[in-house]
């Protein structure tokens, strides 16, 4: 490995460590009180002290997010295929979807609580509602951009609309679909944490709210770190899935080796 290659390999770690060092130094240098900005060492200490609750609630948040995300994938895929299938359905649903997407999802939480009570279900539903939109848009875009010549070739052979969908539409939509999952999973975390903070007794969102009420600022930051880690892990998982499923679409540097 050359020097530059090694440097690039280590670079993410160096930057992360660098950020932590600067953070720690800033806090000590300017004597910032822990209840405003705890140093990384205090956050680490909170991780040790509250390992149990953090792990339990991290798991709940992850579960909530993944169920909501799963619903979004299923529903988003179906709706995307439907919207891409027919121009009439597209024209009819488009303004509705834009309108729906414009609503801040946090504003829906009170209604969900009214219907389902506080706790698990509103959080799952918020994660779902906030994350299905990019999936729908991407799947529909993939279908809408089928080359007309390709369509002609198949139609002239007597292909039905379903044939064209199966042979061309769905395969060519996959890169768009898997790309949208990276966006959707990040949004799903936003949805579940919002709902947990507002209307739940569980999850990292709720844990952070309680820590705030008790001025346990290092614990709040520990909650943030947990969310960041979960977010990164799931994002990477989606990116790997994307590579695996649609390697043909990422041929730069991928097909060659």
């Amino acid at each position: 490995m050359t020097r530059t290659a090694l440097l690039i390999r280590l670079s993410p770690w160096l930057f992360t460590i660098g950020l932590l060092v600067v953070w720690e130094a800033t806090v000590h240098l300017f004597k910032i009180p822990t209840f405003l900005l705890p140093p990384p060492t205090a956050v680490a200490q909170a991780f040790v002290d509250y390992a149990g609750p953090l792990a339990r609630n991290a798991w709940i948040t992850l579960e909530t997010t993944l169920i909501g995300f799963g619903l979004a994938v299923g529903f988003g895929l179906l709706l995307g295929l439907l919207v891409g299938w027919s121009r009439a359905i597209y024209a009819g649903l488009y303004p509705l979807m834009i309108g729906f997407n414009a609503i801040p999802k946090v504003a829906l939480v009170p209604i969900l609580v009214l219907w389902f009570g506080i706790g698990f279900i509103p959080a799952v539903l918020t994660a779902f509602l906030i994350s299905f939109f990019p999936i729908v848009v991407n799947v529909a875009t993939g279908l809408a951009t089928i080359e007309p010549e390709m369509e002609d070739v198949l139609k002239a052979l007597g292909a039905s609309k379903l044939d064209i969908m199966r042979k061309v539409g769905i395969p060519r939509t996959l890169p768009y679909f898997f790309g949208s999952l990276k966006v959707a999973i990040t949004l799903a975390f936003v949805g579940s944490v919002i709902s947990e903070s507002v209307a739940s007794n569980y999850g990292i969102g709720n844990l952070m709210l309680q820590a705030q009420a008790q001025f346990q600022v290092p614990l709040i930051f520990a909650g943030l770190v947990v969310l960041a880690i979960e977010g990164i892990v799931m994002y990477v998982a989606m990116a790997i899935l994307e590579q695996r499923m649609t390697g043909w679409a990422q041929r730069s540097g991928f097909a060659q080796n």
Binding site: E147, E149, M150, D152, V153, L154, K155, A156, L157, G158, A159, D163, K167, V168, P171, R172, T246, W248, A249, R251, A255
Partner: protein
């Protein structure tokens, strides 16, 4: 007995018969079975519309379209098509791209499982015949533009159509590759005795390949001239440098210039 492909007094408009843009008007053309016909014309003259009408992708509001003795009322399955863009599916290998029509068109579709080996052999033969032997396992993007276009031609031929429709298939290729592919098409036509309709704006291409060249007018398109090419077959690329060949090209060019005005 009518011609193999016969359009008679055909008018077609996009965006509805009334108030739409007329693409072709009073278009009549008759191509005999086994004939190689070329259609040339200024750009936007409705050449591609002609393709769509003859393959049953569009239907005229006036006039009649007949292929193989039958009025066209649905897509013509005995036709194969190739376009300027090779439109290969990037997630399929060359060989799998070739098999695509067989997965769609009957009776092959039904027999895809039982006869797969036979079909793969057929696809490999076809690839060999256009000089793409052993390229079957590659993906389209691993092939050059000319190779992709050859694959596209093979795909148009895999279901053994009686009619081959080519819409400026060599437009995007460099001059040398284009001439190479002229010879590929020439040999395919000679070997298979299929009817070919080639839409092009390259007059040398039309004269080199065709038995008859039709000249279309500017939009709305109709046939303004028809020229039988009597050059003996098989034709060699050298023929394109002879005086006789040049004269025909010149003559056709005059028609196009007039059609553009």
């Amino acid at each position: 007995m009518t011609a193999f492909v016969a359009l008679d007094g055909v008018s077609h408009a996009y965006g509805g018969a009334v108030g739409g843009t007329l693409a072709v008007e009073g278009l009549s053309i008759a191509v005999e079975e086994g004939e190689f016909a070329a259609v040339v014309g200024p750009s936007g003259c409705g050449k591609s519309t002609l393709m769509k009408l003859a393959t049953g992708l569009q239907f005229p509001f006036k006039g009649s379209v007949q292929v193989a003795g039958e009025a066209v009322s649905k897509p013509v399955k005995i036709a194969g098509m190739a376009f300027q863009a090779p439109t290969l599916l990037p997630w399929r290998t060359t060989l799998e791209n070739l098999l695509l029509p067989l997965e769609i068109v009957q009776p092959h579709r039904r027999q895809m499982r039982s006869k797969r080996n036979e079909y793969v052999a057929r696809a490999k033969n076809l690839l060999t015949s256009v000089g793409l032997r052993d390229q079957g396992e590659k993906f389209p993007w691993e092939l050059s533009g000319g190779m992709q276009q050859r694959t596209s031609l093979c795909r148009a031929l895999i279901h053994e159509p009686q009619l081959l429709m080519l819409d400026e298939p060599f437009g995007a290729l460099d001059a040398f590759t284009r001439e190479e592919l002229w010879c590929v098409i020439r040999d395919l036509h000679a070997a298979r005795k299929i009817t070919v309709i080639l839409v092009t704006h390259d007059l040398r291409e039309a004269v080199f390949l065709a038995d008859r060249v039709f000249v279309m007018s500017a939009r709305p398109g109709r046939i303004v001239a028809e020229r039988r090419i009597e050059l003996p077959r098989p034709r060699d690329l050298e023929v394109t440098f002879t005086q006789g060949f040049q004269d025909i090209v010149h003559e056709l060019r005059a028609h196009i210039v007039k059609a553009r005005q």
